[in-house]
Amino acid sequence: MRIGLDQAFSTHEQALNLRGERHELLASNIANADTPNYKARDMDFRTAMREATQPPQQPLQATNPQHLQPASHVSAGDPKSLYRQPHGASLDGNTVEMHVEQAKFAENAVNYQATLEFLNGRISKLSGALRRE
């Protein structure tokens, strides 16, 4: 019998990775709250997750070296970072709004913890099954 250990974790593992990257991005925003001309960034988690969970795109069959290949697409799990649209512009060109960043940061941290909880649940279920509990 085949036990898909990697399959058991796959989505949550990718979610955890993306949550970690978003955490880093939001931490950068908070650290640069007073840096002139810094532009706040964030990622669209839904899109990033969809891209990460999609099966990797196969290259087109080429029977001739002159056949065109599509432009290098975004590889799976490679999220695009976007610029935040500020509610009010500041004079020094900085678009970090601390309350927004705090909220997103807290939200992301809770989601990260939720993903950890899911993973913990999976692990205990699997180990329970292995121990014939």
Partner: protein
């Protein structure tokens, strides 16, 4: 690991805010100092922050795209303190126009998306030094004037509050990152 990078970035933010608090402290301490000439008068110091992204790009983006790395002028003038306002500093290093998003490189192109805070230096304010008529002051010049530092106490106090709030925010980031990291390490136990 991205949580570790978040801790590093929060550390650079705390460093920057600490430098800001330090300059505020020296400005406030020297607020009432006087000197015999405008050149000797104490001038308010302000740190300049820049996103380290500019550094990673190989220089400061000027108008018309990134330029090759250049030495900031304070390195040539022999000290980290340069007598110019943050605004003229910005004009010199970042071009007259604010850098818009299109000039910046996509951070995902680099291995890590984090943008640490970079401190290119400390600048001195070029605001007017106020002459005070005190003929009996031992430091007074031939016209009877002493020159008070150009520190604006109100400005410094607001700067201090802002710096301490930002510092606290970075501490929060660090604590959260650490907690998440510890929980990740405890995964499956």
């Amino acid at each position: 690991m991205s949580l570790m990078n978040a801790i590093d970035v929060a550390g650079t933010g705390m460093n920057a805010q600490q430098l800001r608090l330090n300059t505020v402290a020296s400005n406030l301490a020297n607020a009432e100092t006087v000197a015999g000439s405008p050149e000797e008068a104490y001038r308010a110091r302000q740190p300049v922050f820049a996103a380290a992204l500019h550094q990673a790009q190989g220089g400061y983006p000027q108008q018309g795209g990134p330029q090759p790395a250049q030495t900031p002028s304070w390195a040539e003038s022999g000290g980290p303190v340069d007598r110019m306002s943050p605004v003229s500093f910005q004009r010199q290093f970042f071009g007259g126009e604010p850098v818009n998003g299109a000039h910046m490189q996509d951070p995902w192109a680099s291995p890590s998306p984090s943008v640490p805070v970079f401190m290119p230096g400390v600048v001195e304010s070029d605001a007017e030094v106020e002459p005070i008529h005190k003929p009996h002051h031992p430091m007074a010049d031939e016209n009877g004037y002493v020159y008070r530092s150009n520190v604006n106490t109100v400005e410094e106090m607001t700067n201090m509050i802002s710096a301490s709030r930002s510092f606290q925010n970075n501490v929060e980031v660090m604590n959260t990152s650490r907690d998440l990291m510890m929980e990740t390490l405890r995964l499956g136990r």
